[in-house]
Symmetry: C2
Subunit: 362 residues, 2 copies
Amino acid sequence: MGIKRRSFLKGGAVGALAATSTFPAPAISKGRKRWKMITCWPKNFPGLGTTANEIGANITRMSEGRLEVKVYGAGEIVPAFELFDAVRGGIAEMGHGWDGYWIAKHPGAPFFGGVPNGLAAYEQVAWIHWGGGQKLWDDMWADFGVRAFVSGVNPPSYFGWYQKEVNSLDDLKGMKIRMAGLPGEVLNRMGVTSVNMPGGEIMSSLQSGIVDAVEWGNAWSDLAFGFYKVADICYFPGIHECGPNQSLTINNEAYDSLPDDLKEIVKVAAWNGTMQLYSETVYHNAAAYQTLKQEKGVQFKPLPEDVISEFLKVSLDVLFDTASKDPHALRIYNSYMDFRKRAINVAPTDQLGYLEARSSQL
Amino acid sequence: MGIKRRSFLKGGAVGALAATSTFPAPAISKGRKRWKMITCWPKNFPGLGTTANEIGANITRMSEGRLEVKVYGAGEIVPAFELFDAVRGGIAEMGHGWDGYWIAKHPGAPFFGGVPNGLAAYEQVAWIHWGGGQKLWDDMWADFGVRAFVSGVNPPSYFGWYQKEVNSLDDLKGMKIRMAGLPGEVLNRMGVTSVNMPGGEIMSSLQSGIVDAVEWGNAWSDLAFGFYKVADICYFPGIHECGPNQSLTINNEAYDSLPDDLKEIVKVAAWNGTMQLYSETVYHNAAAYQTLKQEKGVQFKPLPEDVISEFLKVSLDVLFDTASKDPHALRIYNSYMDFRKRAINVAPTDQLGYLEARSSQL
């Protein structure tokens, strides 16, 4: 689309916030530092919020309070979607969020949050930790004065909650569906109208018929939202959100001011959040699925095959078009897609193969 | 089988080692501690050994050297299978190993290393971290004076390397196969002869025909071993070893002597090793599979359906019989199997469902 990298840098300067970028001296007192961790999640939100809390507590405990982290929910200091600019501008030293939100800052960002028809959770982390992802991520945000560590990952989401059956691609066309980001763009190209809205409006929009179906998260989160009260058909699998990872975004000036031991503590605490969130969600999803199916009467249905194949095909177009807007985003895309191809090839002989064999006992 | 818990305690007392259980004062000097981490792996062994190295380095760096960890390969201080007794007896403060090896200490141990027809890697960690596994683990080893944290997990192994095709359960019967532990017991009950042997003897045993087939690990490790040079058929999936996790076993007396910040550093470094090993193996497996298939001419074949169903069925018998030897092992078994059931039920709507949909593009 011809948008050049320079324009992201200019466009992302965020005026007032960027102007406050130097940290005040009082942040350090008697060798003790106090840091703010803002988040994109409601305070103490199960999974995402509790993982942020745990990362903050780990840092505080491992440093014996030399680096004391206080965690804030969305809206307590800045709204959820201003997290990136607030960390960049030094309003908070770090933030726990999702890089998919920062696509307007850089078109390479979604690849560090997970993309439709992309890597499974463990593959997403493998690419970042071992496949060159971290270096590409560091390079992408360096111009913005921040860095990010993966610090949370999730199993696939549900494709969404529906009041009427979808038996073919034609049934889906013309519907109005709550789905955000790149997956929403995929739906739009398929003749569906996707809309985004904050979590708090989703239930009422579904109830009042403003949208025909909604997508949010997985069994654990969707049970908590109570979508089953309004729509009793749940479609899977999560071809649109297949292994999203969270990130801990850190102001570089703040990070660089830390002694080596505290740098290591921050990094390891962030990384440790990855499996904490993953395992917590995997555990609670299994129980929530049972509740939804057996107690709430939800019908779980696989998407029609033509919907799956079209969504996967269009996803690849959207990924390429997104990455093509910037040379560094294209480097990220190439690295991601290269590993994705190998991951898809090996899966039937390892993880997919085992899950299929085990399922034969159902 | 009527073996009572008491007998494990007696049988596990390990004479000389247990007698040296108090730590010498010189371990602490100028407020700095030096700890030994022994391992079950050859020094710097890719994946298992490098993860142990990283956990040790993380602890040293995060504590600024106040707790300096030196990592030893198998045989440097004690042989691999003496790790548990050495940590218990205080010869080393901690050890990176696999709880499946310690079945003679307690029949509940294999469930903390992963069992045949069991949980996938992320589910295994979910059960330990969130499903009550850690408490059951702590209680199991408390009488032995040690504790363990999960600190590594792996994707499924390959079922093994064969020179001749296996087209049915009958073809498998009568064969002699290198497979250890509970999976080996499953094979034995199926009319196969399983044998265990150290890694260093596997290649020569296959070459000389002492065994008909061998099992070891996944694409990454098996490529390094070079099994493809002797047997060019690789069977999957890893129904026998579906998501094994590693553990950091720590002497309780040593752990309790740490101040709170160092306790937290040790725990978080151990946990962080979980996703480090997992992501490293997932990344390298994908590349190794490509090499094995395209450059080494390996034929990857799915096991015949009757082999899969019989192995899965007999596995459940072996798990129950193992756990029935001890009341606490039975508690562990019940907790594990309860979550396993829910995990199998939810899989088609989340991880399995996504991997299948994505595979349709192959």
